[in-house]
C-alpha cells in the first residue's frame, strides 16, 4: 500500500464561505486521502505552519472574497521561506479565469473554478503528488 496522500484544505483570511472547502475536503477524503481542514480565518503563517506540521503533500486554498492574489502570494512565499516549497499549492473559489496564469506563475499547481467536478481535482492531485515524489 502506498502512503496516503496528505492534504491541508485551508480558508485564508476573513472569508466565511466554506461550502466549497468542506465539499472538496470530503471528496478528497472519500477518495482515500488524509485531509486536514483548517477552519475559517487562518493567517498565511498558520496555514504554512499546519502544512509543515502535518507533513502535507499539498495545500488547497479556498477563497471567494477576491483576495486570492494576496493570499496565494503569501502562502507560496512563506512555504519557500521555510524550505517547504515541495508542498504543492492549489486552490479554488470565485477566481476569474484571467487571474489564474498569475497564480500559476507565483507557483500554484492548479486553480479550479466554480463548477469543477471534484473528480477533476482528485485526479489532478494524485498525479501532481506522484510526479512530485
Amino acid at each position: 500500500m502506498p502512503d496516503k496522500i496528505r492534504v491541508v484544505i485551508a480558508k485564508p483570511g476573513l472569508d466565511g464561505h466554506d461550502r466549497g472547502a468542506k465539499v472538496i475536503a470530503r471528496a478528497l477524503r472519500d477518495a482515500g486521502m488524509e485531509v486536514i481542514y483548517t477552519g475559517l480565518r487562518q493567517t498565511p503563517e498558520q496555514i504554512v505552519a499546519t502544512a509543515i506540521q502535518e507533513d502535507a503533500d499539498a495545500v488547497g486554498i479556498s477563497i471567494l472574497s477576491g483576495a486570492h492574489h494576496f493570499y496565494f502570494e503569501k502562502v507560496i512565499g512563506l512555504l519557500k521561506e521555510k524550505g517547504a516549497e515541495d508542498i504543492i499549492v492549489f486552490g479554488g473559489g470565485v477566481i476569474p479565469e484571467e487571474d489564474v496564469p498569475d497564480l500559476i506563475n507565483m507557483g500554484a499547481g492548479a486553480v479550479f473554478g466554480p463548477g469543477t467536478p471534484t473528480g477533476t481535482t482528485i485526479e489532478w492531485l494524485k498525479e501532481a503528488v506522484e510526479t512530485n515524489k
Partner: protein, 581 residues
C-alpha cells in the same frame, strides 16, 4: 347566480369526468373511478416510455409525484390553514391586496471599494429605479477590524465597502436623503456600531431617528451556522442583538431590528426544508432571548424580519415561502402567545441563489435569476435582490447590475403575476408541498427543541452537519448526472470567460482607505474618543445596561469601528469555530 360547475353541467348536460386513452373518450362516474382509470393509463404510458428518473424529487430533495389532485389536499381546512391574505396564518401573504397596491421593494445589494465608489453606485441604482438601498460591507468591516489591522490585509473593499468610522458613512450616504430612502445593511456581529453610524448620518442631515426606515441583518446565529462573520461568543452576541431590539423599539421604531436569514443557510448547501427550519429555529432563539430581558414579543415581534433564498425549483420555492409564513405565525401565536397580528406576520426579503450561478456561459444566469425572482414574487416577498450574471466570476459590473434590476421590473410591470394575490393558492401540488415543507421544518424544530434549543444545537454542530451533508449530496447528484446544470454537466461549450469585463478592486483602494483613516484619527477629539470607549467597556461589564447609547456616543466623536469592537473583544472574548466535517 350560477356557479362554475353549473356552467359545466349546462355545457355538457351531465357532470362526469372524461378520460382519454389512445384518443378514445371514456366516461367515469366518480372521482375514485376516474383516478383508477388514470393510474391504469399512466402505467401503460410509463411501460412504453420509461420516465427520466425512477424517483423525481424537488431541488430540495422532496419526493415529487407524477400528479397531485384533490385528495392530496383534502387535509386542508381553508380558513385554518390558508385563509385570506392579510389574515392569520398569512399563508397567502401579509397584505390584503399584495402587489396591486405597491410592488415589493427592489433592493439591490451593493458596495465595493471605498465610500466614494459605493455612493456613486447607489446613486446609479436610484437613478435607474431601484427603490431601496442595500449595503454590502467589506470583510474587515463585517468582522470589526479597521482597514489598518493586520487581519484586514488584502481584503479592503473586496466584497463590499470599507467603513472605518462615521466619516466614511457620511460619504457613503452623501446626497442620499435618509428620510426618503430605506436602507438595508448586511452587518451582523458589529450591527450596533453601523446602526449608530446611520443614526448619526441622519442627525447630520436633519433626519430624526424615528423617521429612519431600513433593516440591519443583526442575525448572529446564522453566522455561526453558515456565514462565518462572527466576532463574539454566543452569550455576548445575543445580548448585543436584544440590546438593539430594545433600543430601536424606543428610538428607531420604523427600523427592522433583525433580518433572520435562511439565505446563507441555503447558500451553504441546505435543502428548502432545512432553510425554513433553521431560520425559524433561530427566530425562536431570538424571541426567547428578548423575552428573558423583559421585552414583549407583541411589540418587538413587529420589527422582526426574515430573509430567504430563491433557488431554482419554482414550485418548491413558492411553497417554501408560504410554509414559512404559516409556520412562523403559528409559532408566534401558539408558542409565544402573541396576539398582535403584525407580530405574527413573517415579512421577508429575498435574494436569488448565488450558488446556482455558473461561471460557464454566464449569460444563462440571467434566465436562472428570472425564474428565481419569479418564484419569490409568486411567494409574496416584500423586497428582492436579483443577482447579476457575472457574480460567479467577480463583483458585478454596472451593466450586469442594470440587467438584474430590469429583470425585476419586467416581472413587476409586464408579467401580469402581480395583478392578483397568491396566484398559486389552491394548486394541488403547491398546497401539498406547502404542507410538506411546513411539516418537515416543524420536525426539525422539535428536534432542536429536544437538544435544548438552537444555541445548544449549534454548539453540538448539528445544523452545520445537516447542511454539509445536503451540500455534499447535491454535489454528488451533479457529478452523477442526477442533477443537470446547463452549461456545466450538459450542453457545455469550450468558450472561455477570460476577457470579459469584470469589476476590479485593486490594492491601492486599501492604501487610500488607510490614509483617510489616519488623517481622520489625527483630526478628531481623541480625549472624547477615549472617554466614550471606556464607557462602552463599563457598560459591557454590566449586563443590565443597554450598550447602544454608549456606542452612539463613541461613534458620534468618530471612534472607529475597530476601536469599539476592540474594546468589546477585550471584554467579551472571541468565538472559536466548532469545526464540523
Amino acid at each position: 347566480m350560477r356557479s362554475a360547475s353549473d356552467l359545466w353541467k349546462i355545457n355538457l348536460g351531465y357532470n362526469k369526468f372524461y378520460i382519454i386513452i389512445k384518443g378514445v373518450v371514456t366516461l367515469a362516474d366518480n372521482y375514485q373511478e376516474a383516478k383508477a382509470a388514470y393510474k391504469k393509463a399512466l402505467e401503460k404510458v410509463v411501460q412504453k416510455n420509461p420516465e427520466r428518473f425512477e424517483q423525481f424529487t424537488t431541488v430540495g430533495g422532496l419526493p415529487l409525484n407524477v400528479l397531485y389532485s384533490q385528495d392530496d389536499i383534502e387535509v386542508i381546512n381553508y380558513l385554518n390553514d390558508i385563509n385570506f391574505p392579510g389574515s392569520y396564518p398569512f399563508t397567502r401573504g401579509v397584505q390584503a391586496n399584495m402587489y396591486r397596491g405597491r410592488f415589493w421593494t427592489m433592493r439591490q445589494y451593493a458596495g465595493f471599494a471605498t465610500a466614494e465608489e459605493s455612493n456613486a453606485r447607489y446613486r446609479y441604482l436610484l437613478e435607474r429605479g431601484t427603490t431601496g438601498l442595500s449595503v454590502a460591507f467589506d470583510l474587515p468591516t463585517q468582522i470589526g477590524y479597521d482597514t489598518d489591522h493586520p487581519m484586514a490585509q488584502g481584503e479592503c473593499g473586496k466584497v463590499g465597502v470599507a467603513i472605518d468610522s462615521l466619516a466614511d458613512m457620511e460619504i457613503l450616504f452623501d446626497k442620499i436623503p435618509l428620510d426618503k430612502v430605506s436602507t438595508s445593511m448586511t452587518i451582523n456581529a458589529p450591527a450596533g456600531v453601523l446602526l449608530a453610524m446611520y443614526v448619526c448620518v441622519g442627525e447630520k442631515q436633519g433626519v430624526k431617528p424615528e423617521q429612519l426606515s431600513g433593516t440591519i441583518q443583526n442575525d448572529i446565529l446564522k453566522e455561526y451556522i453558515a456565514r462565518g462573520t462572527y466576532i463574539f461568543p454566543p452569550k455576548a452576541s445575543m445580548r448585543l442583538v436584544t440590546d438593539i431590539f430594545d433600543f430601536c423599539g424606543k428610538n428607531v421604531p420604523k427600523w427592522n431590528t433583525i433580518s433572520i436569514s435562511g439565505y446563507h443557510i441555503r447558500e451553504a448547501g441546505s435543502t428548502a426544508v432545512q432553510e425554513v427550519a433553521f431560520t425559524l429555529a433561530d427566530g425562536i432563539a431570538y424571541v426567547e432571548a428578548a423575552k428573558i430581558t423583559g421585552q414583549d414579543p407583541n411589540v418587538f415581534g413587529e420589527r422582526l424580519s426574515f430573509f430567504f433564498n430563491a433557488h431554482n425549483d419554482l414550485l418548491e420555492e413558492v411553497a417554501k415561502y408560504r410554509a414559512a409564513r404559516r409556520l412562523w405565525a403559528k409559532i408566534m401565536k401558539e408558542r409565544f402567545g402573541v396576539t398582535n397580528p403584525k407580530a405574527q406576520m413573517l415579512r421577508f426579503h429575498t435574494q436569488t441563489a448565488g450558488c446556482t450561478l455558473t461561471a460557464q456561459q454566464p449569460e444563462n444566469n440571467v434566465i436562472r435569476v428570472t425564474l428565481q425572482a419569479l418564484a419569490s414574487v409568486l411567494g409574496g416577498t416584500q423586497s428582492l435582490h436579483t443577482n447579476s450574471m457575472d457574480e460567479a466570476l467577480a463583483l458585478p459590473t454596472e451593466k450586469s447590475v442594470e440587467i438584474a434590476l430590469r429583470t425585476q421590473q419586467v416581472i413587476a410591470y409586464e408579467s401580469g403575476v402581480t395583478n392578483t394575490v397568491d396566484p398559486f393558492a389552491g394548486s394541488y401540488v403547491v398546497e401539498s408541498l406547502t404542507n410538506e415543507i411546513e411539516q418537515g421544518a416543524a420536525d426539525y424544530i422539535n428536534k432542536i427543541d429536544d437538544m435544548g434549543g438552537m444555541l445548544k444545537a449549534i454548539d453540538a454542530g448539528y445544523p452545520q452537519k445537516e447542511i454539509q451533508d445536503s451540500a455534499y449530496n447535491y454535489q454528488r447528484a451533479i457529478e452523477t448526472d442526477q442533477a443537470i446544470v446547463v452549461g456545466v454537466n450538459k450542453f457545455q461549450t469550450k468558450e472561455s470567460s477570460a476577457g470579459r469585463k469584470l469589476l476590479r478592486v485593486d490594492s491601492s483602494v486599501g492604501e487610500r482607505q488607510i490614509k483617510k483613516l489616519h488623517e481622520m484619527k489625527s483630526s478628531r477629539d481623541n480625549v472624547a474618543v477615549k472617554e466614550y470607549l471606556e464607557d462602552i467597556r463599563k457598560a459591557a461589564r454590566n449586563e443590565s445596561e443597554n450598550l447602544m447609547p454608549m456606542i452612539l456616543n463613541a461613534v458620534r466623536v468618530y471612534a472607529t469601528e475597530g476601536e469599539i469592537c476592540g474594546v468589546l473583544r477585550e471584554e467579551f472574548g472571541e468565538y472559536v469555530e466548532n469545526i464540523v466535517l
